[in-house]
Symmetry: none
Subunit: 146 residues, 2 copies
């Protein structure tokens, strides 16, 4: 389970260090996709494969299945850890999450957020904004076990 919040930097080459605690779980590879609320999702390869396998059973309409395949598989990219425990985040994914440096190609700060079976990558600004905008009362009214 991915827990915690980290602030790492994405360097000029688009590389971002993965928290050491996460690394063993994505040793066999990871899949990066555009997430909801302008962040990025990272799934361990095994988790991604399990989700992909579940898709076919869920969608029977072939037209919708084609659309979903194009959207999710076309929109995803495989990542591997380099020798320093980093992954490369392609430029077009950085744009989606607002992770562009002011000068265009310098290093950028990013928030890494554990979210159970995946973890997420946020621009610090957008993460703060998301926290401000969400309603604490929503939490309060939910039947949470915590």
């Amino acid at each position: 389970m991915f827990l915690g919040e980290f602030q790492h930097s994405i360097d000029a080459k688009g590389r971002m260090a993965i928290p050491a605690k996460y690394r063993t779980r994505i040793e066999r590879g990871a899949v990066l996709t555009r997430g909801v609320d302008s962040c990025l999702y990272v799934y361990p390869a095994e988790v991604w494969e399990a989700k992909a396998a579940a898709l076919e059973a869920l969608i029977t309409d072939p037209r919708k299945l084609r659309y979903v395949e194009r959207h999710f598989f076309g929109g995803a990219v495989e990542c591997e850890l380099d020798a320093q425990g980093r992954i490369i985040i392609p430029a077009r994914y950085r744009s989606h999450a607002g992770l562009r440096a002011a000068n265009g190609n310098g290093p950028v700060e990013a928030i890494i957020l554990g979210a159970r079976e995946r973890f997420e990558i946020w621009s610090p600004d957008r993460w703060e904004a998301y926290l401000r905008e969400s309603e604490p009362e929503d939490l309060a009214s939910l039947p949470l076990p915590f």
Copy 2:
């Protein structure tokens, strides 16, 4: 699993580079067919053979089987990678996907889209149009695991 979106060019000779990440999976050959929604499908030879083998079990009516055989096998073409990792896309398939240069024989841009067990080749214009026309609400209502 084929993942990701690439923009490559088809040169004046009809050659298109296959993304390096895809190459090992079509080393033993690939099959090119006209796809749904005016794109082209490319299957690894093994996948194509498995689908072909499954056909007979799915269609028992010999008349329909003949029709399907003529349609799918007649409309498909085998491709092999050249020494640079490219395949040749015959002219008649380029027409089907709208991959014709303005001047008739110059290079053309093409989108390569991973779609799980196959990948697809799109004209950039048609791919954009497809994305515009499809309904995101359809996605929202689906029980997706992502």
